[in-house]
């Protein structure tokens, strides 16, 4: 789960990472209240989960309440690269002396945590990596050992942070490591990390991605849920525990496992069709899940045919078959289903379905054959 900037800063605060005084506002008047509390001048920042806010006009400096009103009313409702601004973060404007960069993420190749620090912050770090790779200091951290203050101090020195910033930056990096590990982040990134004119180091931005698998031990994450805007269909899928992503084609896709679902997209495209969605029903899906998946796809008006591609491992084909039969009984499916069913209990699954086969439910033995039929039923390539 990606957090908004304001959520990221609130999460940072739990681990003692310094940020600017500020607050959240959903209306112009709330923005003024938050600005008064933070102290002028303030920065009014659009809360969207997309880069390039500043260039799009989503970040503005305001010296008084009138300027806050002007900027807040302009930014609220603004469309930034397809994301509508519904919320603002209003914080006290910092006197910036220098802009740095700091982050923690997992280096999958090394199978260790990776801390990156640079004196060149405030710009896209990918660009720094491409144009001036030596400007980024890197440190691998073994989770068994953890990160010592001495190692963090050496890292900020190596990164070329200004001498007066080094001690507070090293301490902040220790706090950021705790946030990243104990806080179960996939990514904890500060860009820019600033040195103020009065010698303080703090986070001016926050980019945090939480590991959804760790939600069971983080009750405090509940407050982050429900702030994302999903479309109706994605919301329905989420309620049913399905991994659904809407696309723009005409062949609805249901598969078990992310790899098989992606591969199903591949073969539908190669057969000349277009996928309407990505839908992974996961491992061990039962009849209820299968029926729910069909219901979700049935609400997409662009769908002309549904390709159900199942290779049972932990998922049992008889359960899948029961789900299809159940869905046929309880949902008025608008599109024909092309089914390919192999693996665990496949024979039992086919027996269950035998009496239900018709021009609305056809079975094909192979993945490629089923893809071609589904594409043909959807009316060929669009």
């Amino acid at each position: 789960m990606d957090l908004y900037e304001y959520q990221g800063k609130q999460y940072f605060a739990r681990y003692g990472i310094p940020t600017s005084a500020g607050g959240v506002a959903d209306t112009v008047e709330q923005a003024v209240v938050q600005a008064d509390a933070a102290g002028y001048p303030v920065v009014v920042k659009a809360q969207v989960k997309v880069g390039g806010r500043g260039k799009a006009g989503g970040i503005k400096l305001a010296n008084d309440a009138d300027e806050v009103r002007t900027h807040a009313s302009a930014i609220l409702g603004m469309d930034i690269h397809g994301h509508e601004v519904k919320r603002l973060w209003v914080e006290h404007a910092s006197d910036i002396a220098r802009e740095y960069y700091a982050s923690f993420t997992l280096d999958r190749a090394a199978k260790l945590h990776l801390c990156m620090v640079s004196a060149k912050g405030g710009v896209e770090i990918e660009e720094v990596a491409a144009t001036d790779p030596d400007a980024i200091a890197r440190l691998h951290v073994d989770p068994v050992d953890g990160l010592s203050l001495e190692a963090a101090a050496r890292l900020v020195e190596e990164a070329g942070l200004d001498p007066e910033a080094r001690a507070p930056a090293a301490e902040l990096i220790i706090a950021l490591y705790r946030c990243y590990t104990e806080g179960d982040c996939d990514l904890a990134e500060i860009n820019p990390l600033i040195l103020t004119t009065d010698g303080r180091v703090h986070a001016l931005d926050a980019k945090v991605t939480l590991d959804d698998n760790a939600a069971f031990r983080h009750r405090e994450w509940d407050e982050f849920a429900g702030t994302d805007t999903f479309d109706e269909r994605e919301l329905l899928a989420k309620e049913k525990g399905l991994n659904y992503i809407g696309l723009s084609g005409s062949v609805g896709i249901i598969a078990n496992g992310a790899g098989l679902a992606m591969s199903t997209l591949d073969v539908v495209t190669q057969a000349g069709g277009t996928a309407a969605n990505f839908l992974d029903i996961g491992g061990g899906a039962n009849a209820d899940v299968m029926a729910a998946a069909l219901e979700v796809i049935n609400t997409d008006p662009a769908v002309r045919s549904i390709f159900v591609n199942i290779f049972g491992g932990i998922t049992r084909c008889d359960e899948v078959a029961n789900g299809i039969v159940e869905a046929l009984g309880r949902v008025d499916l608008r599109s024909p289903i092309v089914l390919r069913l192999d693996g665990t209990n496949a024979e039992a699954g086919h027996e269950i379905l035998a009496s239900h086969l018709s021009d609305r439910l056809v079975v094909d033995e192979t993945m490629l054959g089923a893809a071609r039929r589904a594409v043909a039923l959807a009316g060929g390539d669009k």
Binding site: R108, E126, D184, M262, F311, G313
Partner: protein
């Protein structure tokens, strides 16, 4: 021959008394795998369909001589179960558990790397390993595999592992061993570990590798193939048509920029001399051609 497991492998099932553990553990036994015991704390002394259950892995190993373990426990308990198996002297651990936090995976991976260098962990979040006709540990349906070789399979995606087995078995091309390494952020066993083992296995004469978008495991494998593999490799990378910037299913499948795309991976693999197919069926067909040309 086979890699990692064979007919002599003695397997414990940690979580045998749970519904998934019972279903898959007994199915592995019925396939012919030596399932010698189960482990569930508090249920020692009982049995599941004739398989004795122990309170701890240590007791189970002492009583049965098990050298492998199949971990089928929920995400909260899986890290402890894996480390318990390693400490008890089990040298091969298969963990199918889906949904373990990445921080936990990074921690137990590095504990194993440091304190138990002789232990191989397969997974988590993987379908397991099958050496057809000899041993099946995990959730793969044994009847889709065909004994006798000469192909070794390694796959990052669960269901595509079955698809790969199926494509070959349908064409009467057998497998030496099929390994599903799983798509989690910190897999215990990598593509390279499997490629190296297949390269050394005299009965494996060609390797099928199934990757997917995200991460850099396929690119690393490509470098290994280029430098070390004398045997032919056929690859398929799922997600050729995936829309960029979307997270699809699990942490392994993230595209960011041009890195980690199917195109970049396919180019690296082709450059390494591997045969690159556009879908699993084509991968199967290309492998059949290669196997025919070996005779």
């Amino acid at each position: 021959m086979s890699i990692f497991v064979d007919e002599n492998t003695k397997v414990l099932v940690q979580g045998l008394t749970g519904s998934q553990g019972r279903f898959h553990g007994l199915r592995n036994r019925d396939y012919g795998t030596q399932v010698v015991g189960g482990v569930t704390p508090g249920k020692g002394g009982t049995e599941v369909d004739g398989v004795p259950v122990f309170d701890s892995v240590e007791e189970a190993v002492a009583a049965t001589g098990a050298d492998a373990s199949f971990v089928v426990v929920p995400p909260k308990g899986a890290p402890t179960a894996i480390l318990e198996a390693a400490r008890a002297g089990v040298s091969f651990i298969v963990c199918i558990t889906e949904g373990i936090p990445a921080q936990d995976e990074a921690l137990f991976y590095n504990i194993l790397r440091r304190d138990h260098p002789g232990v191989r962990l397969l997974g988590p979040n993987c379908p397991g390993v099958i050496s057809p006709g000899k041993c099946n540990i995990g959730i793969t349906s044994g009847d889709i595999a065909l004994p006798g070789g000469p192909v070794g399979i390694v796959s990052r995606s669960g269901t595509l592992t079955y698809q790969a087995l199926h494509e070959l078995s349908q064409q009467k091309v057998g497998q030496t061993t099929c390994v599903g390494i799983g798509g989690d952020p910190v897999p215990g066993t990598s593509f390279i570990d499997c490629l190296a083992a297949f390269e050394e296995d005299p009965d494996t004469r060609a390797v099928m590798m199934i990757g997917e978008i995200g991460g850099s495991a396929e690119e690393e494998a490509a470098q290994f193939i280029k430098d070390n593999m004398s045997k032919p490799v056929v690859c398929y990378v799922a997600g050729v048509t995936a829309p960029p910037g979307r997270k699809m299913g699990h942490a392994g499948a993230i595209i960011s920029g041009s890195q980690g795309t199917a195109q970049a991976k396919m180019a690296a693999l082709a450059d390494a001399g591997a045969t690159v197919a556009l879908n699993p069926t084509e991968a199967g067909e290309r492998m059949v051609e290669i196997v025919k040309s070996l005779d």
